[in-house]
Every structure is written in C-alpha cells, then in structure tokens.
Amino acid sequence: MDHRTFRAVHRVEGKSAAPGVAIGLLVRLVAAKAVARRSRSKADEQQALVGAIEASRLDLTVLAGKVNDEDAEAILAFQIALLEDENLAAPAFARIAGGEAANRAWLAAIDPEITTYDQADDPYFRARASDLRDLRDRVLRRLTGEVDQVVPSGAIVAAEDMPPSVFLATDWREGGLVLRRGSPSSHVAILARSRGVPMIIGVDIDHLKSGVDAVLDGDAGALIVDPDPALRADYDRRLAEQAAAREAASAFSGPVSTASGEPVQLMINVTGLAELKAMDPSQVDGIGLMRTEFLFQESEALPTEEEQYQIYRQMAEWAAGKPVTIRTLDAGGDKPIAGLTEAGDLNPFLGVRGVRLSLKRLDVFRVQLRALARAAVTGNLKVMIPMVTVPEEFDRCRELFRGAVGELHDQGVEAAMPPIGMMVEVPAAAIAVEDFDADFYSIGSNDLIQYVMATSRDEPQLADLARPSRAVFHLIAHVVDYAKRCGREASLCGDLAGDPQQVALLLDQGLRSFSVAPGALGPVRAAISRYSGKAP
C-alpha cells in the first residue's frame, strides 16, 4: 500500500452564482457564535473584554487603512468611534462586576442599543443597526478566541455569507468564493460575475477545512477538495483557457456582428461607477442596465438627489454619447433595503417590490426621478421601470417624471424628459406587451423565468426547472416581434443574455440587443460572431 497519506478527492455540490474556474488553497472564514466561554474570575473577565475591544478597534483601524471607498470608510470610522467611547461598554463592565461572563455581559450591553436603532422612526438611524450588529459580532469573535480572518489573496474562500464591502476589499486574483447563503441575484454574486470571480452558493461548508488544495468549478456549481493530479491537470488547462479568453476579450473593441454580417448591439450591466473604471466605452455599445438599488444598499443613508445625479451624470459622461439605461430602484424581493422595503412581506417576490414600492414611497421615488431628469441633459440617458405589471403603473411613472421635470424647470434647474422604457419580467406584461406605451422594452430574464416557471432561483433542488423553457423563449419572441413592428427597441438584460450557450437561441427569437455582465462580454461576443442564422 502507498505510504503517503491518502486523501480522497471530495466533491461538494452547490449552485453556480458566477462562472469560471478557480484553483487555490481553501480558506474557511468563521462566523461569530455565542459559544459558551468558561467563566473565570471577575478580573479575568474584565481584562478579556478590554482586550477584545482593543483588538477589534485595531482590526477596524487596519481595515480602514485598506479601503478606498468613502462609504466603507464612513462606516468603519463610526464603528471605531463607538469602540473608543467608554459609554458603549460601560453596562457590560457593570455586569461583569456583578459576576457575569464577559461574552454574556457584552451581548446584554449591546443588544438594547441595537434594538433602539432598529426601532427608530428615521430610516437613516434604523439602517445603523446593522453596523452595531457587525461590531457586536466582531468583539464576540475576539472574546471567544476566533481570529478575525483577513481574506487572503488568490484563495478559494468558503463562508456563510459575505458583505459586498468585504468582497470589494479582497484581492481575488485566480481565487473564488463558496457561500452557504446568498442567491445568484445578491449584490455579491453580481459583483463576482462582473469581476470574473467564480462563485458558488448553497454549499454545506461545515466539513470544509482550511489549508487544503481545492478547485472551484463555477460553471458546474461544485467545489472539489484535494483534486487528484489528473483532475487538477484538467482544471489547470481550463484555467489557462479562461485566462487566454479574458485577455482576448479585453482586446476586443468595435461593433459586434453575426457571421452573416448582421449587427448586434452588445451592452453591459453595472451597479456603479467602480466597474466602469477598468473599461473603455469603445468595448461596448453602452450601458444596458444600471442597477440603482446598490446605491441604496451600500450607502450610509438613502442617497440624496445630488449624490444620485453625480453618479448618473458621470455614467453618461463615461459612455460618451452611447446609451446609458438606468433602472429606477428595484428594491424588495431578494434585495431588501433597511428603512425602505417592508420587513413583513410574506412572499417578497410576489410582494411590494420594484415599481410597486416606488409608487408607495413617492418621497424616495421623486428624489430619484429629479436626479434622473437633471442627468438626462448631460448625455444619452434612458430610464426604465422595473416590475411593471399593468399599464397604469407605467403611465403613472411617466406622469410623475413629467411632474419632476416641470418642477425642476420652475426652479430654474436644467432638466429633460429622457426615453422611458419598461422591464418586461412579469408574465402579465410580456403576454400583453401591446398594452404598454413604453419607449423601449428590456426583458429581465431572471424574474421572467422564475415567474413563468413558478420556480425560485434560490432553490438548489429545483435548478433544472429554473431554466428557460420553450414557454420563456416564446414570450421573448413575442416581445421582440411587437417591438420590431412598432419600431421600438427591445433588449434582454438578464443572466440569460450572458450565457454563451443561449446566445444562438436568443438570436433565433429575433433578439438583436444584449446587455451582459462585463465578465461575459468576451464569450458572448464570440458566440454572436459564430451565429450564421436560424438552423433550418
């Protein structure tokens, strides 16, 4: 028998959230747990809490020196200031003096503070509860001896969940991400696809150990621990192909066309300015979808008109005359926003989300419409409304937009009415698309598929059903046909557009405008240029 330690190849199944292959060391991040600590003397407990708070303060200070994003800096500065304020832990020290263990005393001191923020009337204050929770867990981790791990460069990272700020602060290189929680439409998944970081979700991470070799297959949705040499060589080859394809894709520019010379519009989906920094507008035909909900999720407070205007304006400037399609806030569903979305929604995907929420929260919607109307004079801006179900919703949005433009003109502020289109993602809107007087249509395939198939995207057991069937393609063809007949644009901006294997089928339906994650540009461009017409 072989004397070397025998380690079986271990394959863990999950669900793909971002394609691609990663090879590297597996690192498991540990979440904070209220594990029972053995209680020692009062003096020891006191010292333990002092030490944990100081260590946490240092961790945050180091972290603050690394981030280069203003919102992240502000949150870290707030957390550091809280730790430096002795009033925060004073009740905990009083409890320790009364004989309580440090971890329990800390929880008892912080939880009422969190509750106070949770119950605030003002959404800005309510949103701070999450910063306190994060702080509570950080100190707890220190108290229970769990090291607050820095996410290492180029590793395959396994964790419960990951906040977008941690994702953005990590140097991923050839690494990848394995999460137990999250969904393919979570912000971290969108960022992973956009930056070409392979990612899978729905993985049982309990038995994963740090420090072993692993392969992450983001296409198949699997993690392979301790791959044998043959398998490893196979993946090494795929990794090399992937790197070559990325390099080729980044060198591409100019218009895209099919093998028969028919032009196709290829645009990108983005969540903010950060993703545009590394890109040249000559590589794309514009921005087909800007998801504004992430401006709302990431920032310390709901973004002001001026903040939104500056971002929309800079996007229009980046695109230099090419279209920039900005979607109004699509919160709700799996994209909750503290202080805005309804917490008690029993069935969030069928609840108050997208335009339904905007029309209920006119205070927030009007701010966004004003910012968009101002930005419309600075470039080729288009605005689209998400989750439209009946024509009245769309008409009401246009009316509100007109109101915002009129109000700005009255105040002597430059503003314009951009083309206003709608997302076609609710089956009711796709079937009766003729009833909607939109300037353009953009098919949101992620939601359209889940609503047509009655299948959640986040249910790993139903992955086979959560795929586009003939019924979905039929609806896509219906929308594209109608748009063509009345001379309006129709594009598709869901994940379906970014899947090279679906490109030919979508072209078969008559679709000639795609909007994809920047990471998918190369493969989709290649798939379009191979297309030579509908198979007979």
Binding site: A74, F78, A81, L82, A120, E300
Partner: protein
Amino acid sequence: MNRLKASVLMRHEVGLHARPSVKLTKLAKAFESKIDLGLSPDGPWVDAKSIVKVMATKAPKDSTIYFRAEGKDAKAALDALVMLVDGDFHDGP
C-alpha cells in the same frame, strides 16, 4: 466659573447621523473642557465627546444644537463646534 453656551442650526440633510457624529465627537475630544450637547436651551444634556450619547439624541435636520462648555478652552471649543455644524460638517480648518 467659566461656563459658556452656544447654539447653532443644523442643516445637514440626514441630521446628526453617523458621519457628522463622528466628526463632532472627534472635535469635542480635542478640547480639555467638559462639553455637553442638547436639543433645547435647558437640556437634557449629553456628553458631546460620546458618540453613543450624541447619536442617541437622533437629532433630525433643521434642529438647533445647543452646546455648553466648562473649562480653560471652553470658548475655543464652542467656536470650533459651532463652525463645524454651521459648515455642514465639511472638512476644513
């Protein structure tokens, strides 16, 4: 006894929120004087050097912030704090 008072209208869009509170308490801590903050001329007063207490006032936009300071550098402290709030918490000298 050297106790001084000052007040200033806060116009910051989101009120005395995390970022403004961090700046305010940092500035207050730069002075030796005991400095209190309140939302009315007669208090109740909270320690202006404590972010926990300052945030707990949940002062909204357009509230008037009252300060009182006691100590050697009370005058300088009040001038600096009023300037910070009046300048909408922008960085500057």
